[in-house]
Assembly symmetry: C2
Homo-oligomer: 275 residues x 2
């Protein structure tokens, strides 16, 4: 079996280096990777330290590690090139063709990708959207639906809250959510507070086995996690979605990223922020 | 001035393609980019549609767009290669050297990077950590500090909540937060509930102009955003951090990503999740 230590080297947070490396590593089924992130490699001393760690690992394991780097400065990049690893550098590979295409030199500047200075306005949108998601979680402040870009509707633990938060933090989208409970199931109606916001509604569905499993992990016992209760709630929610023509997405097999980007794609919502 | 339309093409959510492209684009100061994400390009029909959009843009603008792609399937990638754009493909560039190094073929499989199926346990950690951050926001449930990996302490609007949420969603870290208010400033003490968790405390500081600006954007008028009040709170918070030996980070110029990864780096906290 393939086993290898992997370094993510960055002069900034490491988020980009990790995303970059991670998406490639997932293409190697059955391989086992030991992942180490070294962020803030922004000077010679830190670069030397990183090289030392890579070389020690190569020696200890008898094979060279993989090194995914997003170092911007040529000098530091050259130092890492000399380490005993397979050095894959993001900027090495793509900056040159981009410079040729755009006819300008890149700034070779550290720390832009996830820095705040680049876009204070966008950053404020993100914070505003996050606060909005927190304040409009689970129907707490019904009055604020007017400001929502989208309102997620679904039974408890169908994924509403993390999806709203992710949409806020990743896209700056104002996402509220409304939980379907006994009240809606008994009346067979959505609350009147949602009447004027019907076009913003998006329903989350989930398969009953998975929902039962999630609920069991949260609370021990009780009616909340019984197969009967879970199936009942999902059936009633389904009826409401049909009755009100609410588009739905099945979250059973999806990550929060997938749910959020699918909703964005389907609704055509504009993002206000790019991390 | 350089102006260009940029496409992010993905057979999945587009998160990786966007991160990939974005970190390169930020290296071109002063250039202006119109960004379009096309996610879920998972079959020939959708690839044709993407090619059409790229070609129409090239024609309309008289210059070819930049195309950042993370398409995994060779067939779809070949189709996009034919579009009238500068095609920069993540997998094109890096899969071959990785395959050579590891001595195995990659699986060329769609949708691993942000898919849930790959790691259900990690996914559950993420949800648990997110719920934890929500339930332990602003000192609401003091009893749960035992479960915290880290407890962020700071005055109102210093960045505690978004940082906790980000640490949960990006790293699966259990981050609580405790707001410093009149109570602490008057007594000059941290609450006794934090006594047994001193080693987990991490202080957020921020410069007073920036804090004033943030608070002004949130609430109109009032003592809360006056220079006097803001300076007073920050000074008192600083005293508390010194008194209790709480490490601090100045969030004034930092994005949430930067704050979170710096804290992770300084504390040596292990991440439980990699997106």
């Amino acid at each position: 079996m393939v086993q290898r230590t992997v370094f993510f080297i960055s002069d900034q947070t490491g988020v980009t280096a990790e995303t970059f490396g991670q998406s490639l590593l997932t293409q190697f089924d059955g391989a086992s990777f030991n992942r180490i992130t070294i962020p803030f490699v922004s000077n010679r001393k830190k670069a030397e330290e990183a090289v030392r760690k890579i070389n020690l690992t190569a020696e200890a394991e008898g094979q060279r590690p993989l090194v995914f780097s997003t170092l911007v400065h040529d000098e530091l990049r050259d130092m890492l090139h000399e380490a005993n690893g397979l050095y894959l550098d993001f900027f090495d590979a793509f900056l040159a063709p981009l410079e040729r295409e755009l006819g300008v030199k890149s700034s070779h500047t550290t720390g832009r990708a996830h820095g705040m200075s680049a876009n204070v306005d966008a950053y404020n949108f993100r914070i505003e959207a996050t606060n909005y998601a927190l304040n409009n979680d689970d129907g707490a402040h019904i009055k604020d639906y007017g400001k929502a870009d989208v309102i997620l509707v679904g039974v408890s633990r169908s994924g509403k809250t993390p999806t709203c938060l992710y949409m806020a933090m990743q896209y700056g989208v104002f996402a509220a959510n409304y939980p379907l409970t006994e009240e809606e199931f008994e009346s067979g109606k959505l609350p009147s507070a949602l009447d004027s916001h019907r076009k913003k509604l998006y329903g989350l569905t989930i398969n009953s086995q998975r929902l039962q499993q999630i609920r069991k992990e949260r609370l021990d016992g009780g009616r909340y996690a019984t197969p009967q209760q879970v199936s009942f709630e999902l059936r009633e929610a389904e009826k409401l979605f049909k009755k009100y023509g609410v588009p739905t997405i099945d979250t059973t097999e999806m990550s929060v990223e997938e749910i959020a980007s699918t909703i964005l794609e389907h609704t055509g919502l504009e993002r206000r922020f790019r991390p």
